[in-house]
């Protein structure tokens, strides 16, 4: 009987929002150790085994509990140090595994880095440590963040908590699935073409890509440096805003980070008010190629915003139809250059050919064995786009498209405050469905890519379900307009939740405890990808 009660309490605890957790910690109703342990228990219950979610590549139980205990001790002691605690202190967080961490392996989902331990922390990790958020572990991703389904991870795919036979999106499927299944209230993601927002859309969670430069990228393993951005993954818009405020600000170690911090995000997310806000529907980001159920939820979202007092017009960004093509030239070009450093010389797994060989042959064998198919595809594509005779036609032309896309957005934002579109053209597709069709996989990113090309912020919020699967609604705002983006997103979220009578996740299916199918010894203890073949 008492066991049942305890389980119910734990279930309730992990279903709170991050800000609710923070408030309960602040008033002393719960401890961070309890809260962190509840999440570790949840990870042990639903992440492992044959039918587990498999969001985590590494679970960092000991360190997380130690940090939690520190927070509890500081709070218990009271005084100035307790007063100075960050509002999110003691709320656990998960970190995408392409963000480097001292004391935990960082693999980027690649065999190349299997077992690699970073000698330094990413700036965002330093910020989490300074604010004393217990880090639960490292989450799964498509190898080097290249993909839209997390199936390109060298350490097995992640499952979508809404339907375990479907993809959780990608590349940040691990972070999104962890948050969607209450294994973590908050997580970090990275978004080069939609890797935070699309997983958010298909798992019914919130994911935001800040303005380019809004969050330091020091310590994220770079894919395409003119597009990459770190951002928050959460279950609510306010939680995402609070986490972005924690992560953001200038960093001398990333000279592309904005000198002025993006402020007022949480305040904007608390506003819930869109009276008089001008919202533009992007003509080019709907219609052909979009699933009917996705469009239905999208149209409802627009109606809800209109009813809430927003002024909605349709705007055209005619060059967006070339954005996907430009992206799939710029991104592989930059990736081919960024990934040149993985050559088995200074770190990473060196592979020596059987017959031995020169350093060049060793590099060739190392990269053949260390990289998966999608990574190789992008490196070759990028090498091609940058090669003599093709540079102007491909990389050069793509950069001009980028200018045209930016001009389209400038024009649109002269008429409206934010833009709105579906986040992803479809709901979560089946595991394995698109793995052999790279182009079909790329088309998933059609609505998210333009924001990366233009450097503007974007967020995906749950818009409801289509045939039982989450649909995401995306808001885009002008560069440095993250606050108005959060305001619009929060307004939609609160109106929809009123209509549903609860948050969307109340409709998510219960996950089975998979522990009975796990080998003995795999539980809350530290667990690391690589050894086990999952």
């Amino acid at each position: 009987m008492s066991e049942t009660t305890e389980t119910t309490e734990t279930n309730d605890l992990i279903r709170l929002t991050a800000l609710q957790m923070a408030e309960r910690l602040r008033v002393g109703e719960i401890t961070s150790v309890e809260l962190t342990q509840a999440h570790l228990d949840r990870i042990a219950a639903v992440d492992g085994g044959e039918r587990g979610v498999h969001a985590f590549l590494h679970v960092n139980a000991d360190e997380a509990l130690a940090v939690a205990a520190e927070v509890d001790a500081i709070r218990a002691a009271g005084g100035a140090e307790a007063e100075a605690l960050h509002p999110l202190a003691g709320v656990p967080v998960a970190v995408k595994d392409n963000i480097v961490t001292i004391g935990q392996p960082t693999t980027a989902g690649s065999r190349m880095l299997e077992g690699w331990m970073s000698p330094y922390d990413a700036t965002v990790v330093t910020k989490l440590r300074q604010a004393r958020l217990p880090i639960l572990g490292k989450t799964n991703l498509d190898e080097f963040a290249m993909g839209g389904s997390t199936e390109h991870s060298a350490f097995g795919n992640t499952r979508n908590p809404w339907d375990l036979d479907r993809i959780p999106g990608g590349s940040g499927g691990g972070s999104a699935a962890a948050v969607a299944s209450f294994m973590a209230p908050l997580a970090l993601g990275s978004d080069t073409g939609g890797s935070i927002r699309q997983p958010g859309a298909v798992t019914g969670t919130v994911g935001a890509k800040p303005t380019y430069g809004g969050v330091s990228r020091y310590g994220v393993i770079a894919m395409a440096s003119s597009l990459d951005q770190i951002g928050p993954v959460a279950r609510t818009v306010q939680d995402a805003a609070a986490l972005q405020e924690l992560l953001g600000g200038h960093d001398a170690k990333d000279s592309t980070s904005l000198t002025e911090p993006l402020e007022g995000l949480l305040t904007a997310a608390r506003q819930h008010d869109v009276t008089g806000l001008r919202i533009g529907i992007v003509s080019e980001l709907k219609g052909e190629g979009y699933q009917e159920g996705v469009l239905e939820r999208f149209r409802e979202a627009v109606t809800v915003l209109q009813d809430a007092g927003a002024e909605v017009i349709e705007v055209s960004c005619p060059h967006l139809k070339y954005a996907l093509g430009a992206y799939y030239l710029i991104m592989p070009s930059e990736a081919s250059s960024n990934l040149a450093k993985f050559d088995g010389v200074r770190y990473g797994n060196r592979v020596v050919p059987e017959e031995g060989g020169t350093i060049e042959q060793v590099m060739g064998a190392t990269r053949a064995a260390g990289f998966g198919e999608e990574v190789k595809r992008r490196i070759i594509l990028g090498t091609y786009a940058l090669s003599a005779g093709y540079y102007d036609a491909y990389y050069g032309s793509a950069q001009k498209i980028r200018t045209l896309v930016q001009r389209d957005f400038d024009e649109a934002f002269s008429k409206v405050d934010v833009l709105i579109s579906p986040t992803s053209p479809t709901t979560a597709f089946g595991l394995g469905e698109k793995i052999d069709d790279p182009l079909a996989m790329y088309l998933n990113d059609v609505a998210t890519i333009p924001a990366n090309l233009a450097g503007i912020p974007g967020i995906s919020v749950p818009g409801g379900l289509a045939e039982g699967l989450p649909v995401g609604v995306q808001f885009l705002a002008p560069a440095r307009g993250d606050a108005v983006m959060y305001r619009a997103a929060a307004a939609l979220e609160s109106r929809l939740e009123q209509a549903w009578g609860a948050q969307l996740w109340a409709q998510a299916p219960e996950l089975d405890d998979t522990r009975s199918t796990q080998p003995v010894g795999v539980g809350t203890a530290d667990r690391t990808a690589g050894g086990e073949n999952r």
Binding site: G364, K376, I380, T403
Partner: protein, 98 residues
């Protein structure tokens, strides 16, 4: 523009230092041809009057004082090396027969 051929892919794989067998070259060249076909329109859109954008947020050079900061110790830097010797990275021979 000419289509990407199997020979192109073999050449690019050499440039990118990725060893590929015959089967991989066949598969990769087929896939890349489809992808390049889908993105080719990019080269026909913008005229000479459109400047390229390499960076989404305009930035000029960022300068800072050249001051010593935190750094990795030799031990830290070599800790994850595939092979190290006498405080240095050990690499395979650069040239044949050495």
């Amino acid at each position: 523009m000419s289509a990407i051929t199997r020979e192109d892919v073999a050449h690019l794989a050499r440039l990118a230092h990725i060893r590929m067998d015959e089967q991989e070259l066949d598969k990769m060249s087929g896939e890349l041809a489809v992808i390049m076909d889908a993105v080719a329109a990019v080269s026909e859109v913008a005229g000479d009057d459109v400047p390229p954008t390499s960076h989404p947020i305009p930035l000029t050079n960022v300068f800072r004082e050249d001051e010593p900061g935190e750094m990795l110790s030799q031990e830290q830097a070599l800790a994850m090396a595939p092979e190290a010797e006498d405080g240095q990275f050990r690499v395979p021979a650069i040239l044949d027969g050495e």
